[in-house]
């Protein structure tokens, strides 16, 4: 759905993140929310009907980019810059107590 302009210009990715366990090249400046738009099957599933959503606003007000980041759920993806080695998993429904 989206591609990085940088990807065409650089030989190597700036970092590697793990999306649902799969090593994925990523670029400086990217957030968790942008990864959700580049990699299939990682958009959050709503707690109500279970349908899949993808980031909508990118400015912290819609909460459609919630994801499990390094084991912490309900992280707002658009406010979270990617870091090398970061693990990102799909958020299924509500955050669980104790996570």
């Amino acid at each position: 759905m989206f591609r990085s302009v940088t990807a065409g210009l650089k030989e190597q990715a700036d970092m590697t993140v793990y999306v649902n366990g799969v090593a994925t090249p990523a670029w400086d400046g990217e957030t968790v929310a942008s990864i959700l738009l580049r990699v299939p099957n990682v958009g959050r599933q709503t707690p109500v009907s279970g349908e899949t959503r993808l980031p909508y606003c990118q400015m912290g007000v819609c909460f459609e980019c919630l994801a499990v980041v390094d084991g912490v759920s309900s992280v707002q993806g658009c406010l979270t810059p990617l870091k090398n080695g970061m693990r990102i998993e799909r958020q299924r429904g509500r955050r669980e107590v104790g996570q």
Partner: protein, 457 residues
């Protein structure tokens, strides 16, 4: 930590105010959600200085570099990547950063937390592939992301025009641009003479429109736009002159203007006024940006939409206003006059009456089967049903349907629910109040609250 002033938001208004206040010798802390200063307009401006997208983002974006440099040089305590979840009398600002909560106190608080895009629900707007134009532009500023496939832009206002221009410049492609604005009324055109005060701004807008017309991809006079697909956007449909049109679509970017972020001022119980032309609430302020609550100031788009230039000026004005409030022995009136702030504000807002009249929010009733509350998945039909069975109040509808109770806390559905309650009760929209905003302003875990130390609660 104790400060004279806490500024919330590091966009044009927050940075301008903080720099002024620091120069006047007050202690300032700036708290911001983003990892770097600039707000949404200048998001990632420092990092992007060496990026291939920097040129395409244009002159107004590049100007952000000067503002962030001045901000860093001013010796201000800066707390990035922080979420403010509660503000209490005194003033106590509770925030969470990196999983830990803190309370900072200040004599005055400046809310410079900006705006958000107006939510306009339509069939299929929750499908993956549909997002706002602002979101796409932020993606461009965060890692140089360009949309791929059949990209459609549908909306009204300067932002979609600007984004389309930036996208084409970077070699992106647009399948079509649907202008959803109404035909300009005589009343709108009556604002044209005043708009000439901002001649470059006016010309820039006309140039964007002209470029778009020449591309042959401009579609006008449509209604009933909808997005369709199973679990993902596949097509868009609309009606025009009695015919239904269908097109393949991979990405649909929508935009119907921006509205102030009011959750903070609403939660603080500040007085608000209804802007009936642009259909939003804005906190009522005096000529220094102070709200009805002493010591709570507002600057920038959070006080009413004016754009980044006006935000910078209002930030400077609020800076002087706060210094005046703190009684630190300055002549705020003179400083304001010497910096010609009121003239600068007049110039910066010259285009606004024309833009507001040209791009009025859409007033088409929302179809019953359209989801209005994205978080709790409440349809317009259910909201109407609840509204018919209760007093003309959004609170009753919220209690009956859960609309506005999800993680976004009504930031997406608030104005739509208000409009639906007004519609059902045949009331002017401005006569129906907004949701009651209660703490926390942003989701916070018990674990995070438990990290609070040395707080007298």
């Amino acid at each position: 930590m104790n400060y004279d002033v806490v500024v919330i938001g590091a966009g044009p208004a927050g940075m301008a105010a903080a720099v002024k206040l620091a120069k006047l010798g007050t202690s300032v802390c700036v708290v911001d959600e983003q990892p770097a200063p600039g707000g949404q307009i200048w998001r990632g401006v420092e990092r992007n200085a060496t990026s291939p997208v920097f040129n395409a983002l244009g002159e107004d974006y590049q100007k952000g570099s000067f503002a962030t440099a001045a901000f860093h040089a001013a010796g201000i305590d800066y707390q990035p990547s922080a979420q403010v979840w509660q503000i209490e009398d005194g003033w106590k600002v509770f925030l969470t950063a990196e999983g830990k909560s803190r309370c900072i106190t200040a004599k005055a608080v400046l809310l410079a937390n900006g705006a958000q895009e107006r939510s306009v629900p339509f069939a299929g707007w929750t499908l993956p592939g549909v997002m706002t134009v602002g979101a796409a532009q932020i993606l461009l500023k965060s890692g140089g992301m360009l949309p791929e496939g059949d990209v459609w832009i549908a909306g009204a206002g300067p932002l979609p025009l600007l984004y389309a221009t930036q996208l084409l410049e970077l070699g992106g492609k647009v399948a079509g641009y649907i202008d959803t604005s109404q035909k300009p009324s005589l009343k709108a055109l009556s604002h044209l003479p005043a708009a000439w005060r901002d001649f470059p701004g006016l010309m820039k807008g006309l140039r964007w429109i002209w470029k778009l017309r020449r591309s042959g991809k401009l579609i006008r006079g449509i209604h009933n736009l909808r997005a369709t697909g199973e679990g993902q956007l596949c097509q868009i449909e609309w009606e025009s002159k009695g015919n239904t049109h269908k097109r393949d679509a991979g990405v649909l970017l929508v935009h119907e203007g921006v509205v102030p972020r009011i959750h903070e001022t609403m939660a603080l119980g500040c007085d608000h006024d209804w802007n009936d032309q642009q259909k939003y609430f804005a906190p009522r302020t005096d000529e220094w940006g102070q709200t009805s609550r002493k010591g709570i100031f507002v600057a920038g788009d959070a006080g009413g939409i004016g754009g980044w230039k006006a935000a910078t000026v209002s930030g400077e004005i609020a800076g002087f206003g706060i210094a005046r409030f703190l009684n630190i022995g300055i002549d705020a009136e003179k400083l304001r006059r010497d910096a010609a702030l009121d003239d600068r504000r007049k110039r910066a807002t010259a285009l606004r009456p024309l833009l507001d009249a040209l791009y009025a929010p859409p007033q088409t009733p929302i179809a019953d089967d359209v989801v209005v509350c994205r978080c709790e998945e409440v349809s317009a039909g259910r909201i109407r049903e609840a509204a018919r069975a209760s007093a003309p109040d959004v609170g009753a509808v919220k209690a009956a349907t859960r609309c506005g109770m999800g993680p976004c806390q009504g930031r997406q559905c608030g104005y739509s629910v208000q409009a639906l309650v007004a519609e059902v009760n045949n009331l002017p929209v401005g006569d129906v109040r907004f949701f009651n905003i209660r703490p926390p302003l942003k989701p916070v875990t018990l674990g995070e609250i438990a990290t609070l130390q040395d707080v007298e609660l």
